[in-house]
Symmetry: C2
Subunit: 418 residues, 2 copies
Amino acid sequence: MMIAEILSTGDEICQGSVIDSNSAHIAVLLNEIGAHVTRHSCVGDNMDELASMLSEIAVRADIAVITGGLGPTIDDLSAEAAAKAFGVDLQLDPDAAKSIKTYFAKFSRKMSRSDIKQAMLPAGASPIVNAYGTAPGFIFNIGRCRCYFLPGVPKEMERMVSEAVVPDILAFFGEQQDTVTLRKQLSLFGLPEALVNEKLNRFESLFPNVKLGMLARFPVITVKMTAVGTDRASLVDEIEKAGKWSAEQLGDKVFSLEGRSMEAEIASLLIKSRVTIGVAESCTGGLIAHLLTNIAGSSDYFLFSGVTYSNEAKVSILGVSEKTLKTYGAVSEETVREMADGARRISGATCGLATSGIAGPTGGTDEKPVGTVCVGISMKDKTLGYRFHSPFKERLSNKQIFAICALDLLRKQILMAS
Amino acid sequence: MMIAEILSTGDEICQGSVIDSNSAHIAVLLNEIGAHVTRHSCVGDNMDELASMLSEIAVRADIAVITGGLGPTIDDLSAEAAAKAFGVDLQLDPDAAKSIKTYFAKFSRKMSRSDIKQAMLPAGASPIVNAYGTAPGFIFNIGRCRCYFLPGVPKEMERMVSEAVVPDILAFFGEQQDTVTLRKQLSLFGLPEALVNEKLNRFESLFPNVKLGMLARFPVITVKMTAVGTDRASLVDEIEKAGKWSAEQLGDKVFSLEGRSMEAEIASLLIKSRVTIGVAESCTGGLIAHLLTNIAGSSDYFLFSGVTYSNEAKVSILGVSEKTLKTYGAVSEETVREMADGARRISGATCGLATSGIAGPTGGTDEKPVGTVCVGISMKDKTLGYRFHSPFKERLSNKQIFAICALDLLRKQILMAS
């Protein structure tokens, strides 16, 4: 079994300004090709710490993936630390220099002197092209440990792992030829992790060859199933059954049987059912529109969102009646119904969606505490109003819950209507 | 100086199913009380790895904070590993048992037999009450290293760090009376990292006692300065000069002298200058509204955003003329000026801001390639139109650049007007 370790570098991670999401991404991919990840580590931009950490890893692991510290600035120390730890010099790598030049040429940007620092690699290292940024990565063998140095920028790192590191590991260590890896994912919203765990507690005994994992991307949870083995037919059968069984246990909280995001799931549903949508957002403050328009091609179904924070805007732009606002308040089923009708009318969409609530941290009352949200859905033949409570007091968490909650209600209504 | 290390445990983190956000949270709090965090590590639910990691940390650090592995299940190994690593037995701690019983009584839940396992602590450990979950934490001194074991559930861990760990560290190690840590941050937009670095390349020689760091939170870069030492007066003087010098080098790209986000900076500027704002978003798809409304109290200055994706919505809702759209196209200075005027008019705000562009990945032409954005600003006495190009082809990156670019133009106009 190949032993793998992951090291992330940088003061911003070590001091906690940035949460390290790179290591999890890399661990998943290393796992998939049969490597056993035993440790993650993180050190700051400190030459001695970095060099000593690299020496330690090299005696324990067969594979090491190191992220960060490859940029042009003075606190980018990874190449120098690798050279120092293993007693070699840094030298200009012509291929790495070419990769940097190509990147700059592509964007008609001028290279600065410090950019060329990124092509100084430890003697004996081979560069990894970075087509998505300025810093090339490199591979450097230290004794029995093959070390992959990658930039810390997630977008660059992710592509380089998939396109260079994984193929190199498979070529260098040999394919685990007879091994099949199958995967299945479900996305769900509206259950805490502990309860998802409880509902699936018989999973291990029912499906002994499928490994269950969970990934919480607040407020959505993705249930991940992985089956690794040699008998493809029986693995396919078992993981299919496992997926079906899990979906049954989790019921209507599951919104995607393919592990997709809510906005991607809604996008394909709207296109398939030829529904167009107009949105009126109060408490979600543009987040619903932002999520929907993150999907390329969203102009086919997303026509308009009015972020109407003030009561005046709700009246003048969406046509909510002043009487409704006065009688029931801005956060009420009555108001969101009129907002949804207004959004549908002025956008000319077939469906209107509206939110009004109290995201916090202040603004709550006894009757309508922080976390209260009302969602309105306007369709050709009916207008619906809902009310929910989130247990959170924190503004951004509540905006996220409110937005996903509204999109999930919309999803269910469209499914029912079609 | 107190050296601190952080260890997170659990297969779900080590295998990448869950991103470790606990370590960043703990690092920030340890930093604040003057501890120097040198390493984070993570190991899976494996007795040998865990025990060996604990032994390594205990010889390097004065303080260790360990999360995870304290629950009732068989893969919760932290207490046993601590006992094993330091050659003591596990024993039932009456205070820990009481804390578990109190928690269950509070929620009228029945205790299961496996729950009492959580009260088995290494001999000599003192329990830390967990009022927010079932697993108590504990403090265990290993040689010179004081180890704090906490549950991995973020909400439980966070409260226990603030309410028990931080006070204990301060009491045990005494306030670090003679060391001062000073920090200064600048936020900027519109320069690549390499160029920022080049502009600041004399920093180290000019300010030898201030450490320079950089944090890229796309598309914003934060320049971080830290001065640690014993002579407060001279450090204050040096870091103030360093901040001033850096701001001069970076010129009008700097938008916050306090390292704030663009939306926080705009918020305080709008409040100070009593400007209210109405927005019309095409290519940014709600992101500007989302950013502005992430700030609590934004209803004081943010009145409305119309996310008008379609030309029809631009005409019917914002009052853009069909002739302008036909003559110049949706992505043009002329159209965004009319959009900005429309947003200002219908929202009743003192200022209107509008975006229209091509976020990609498709939809570009030779004349208006992917990455083109037009920004309109409407004020009482003038309406302005701008055009920019981003070098990126990726949709979400472009939405982010476009939104920050528009807010930065607005910021400059408001500063000029006031």
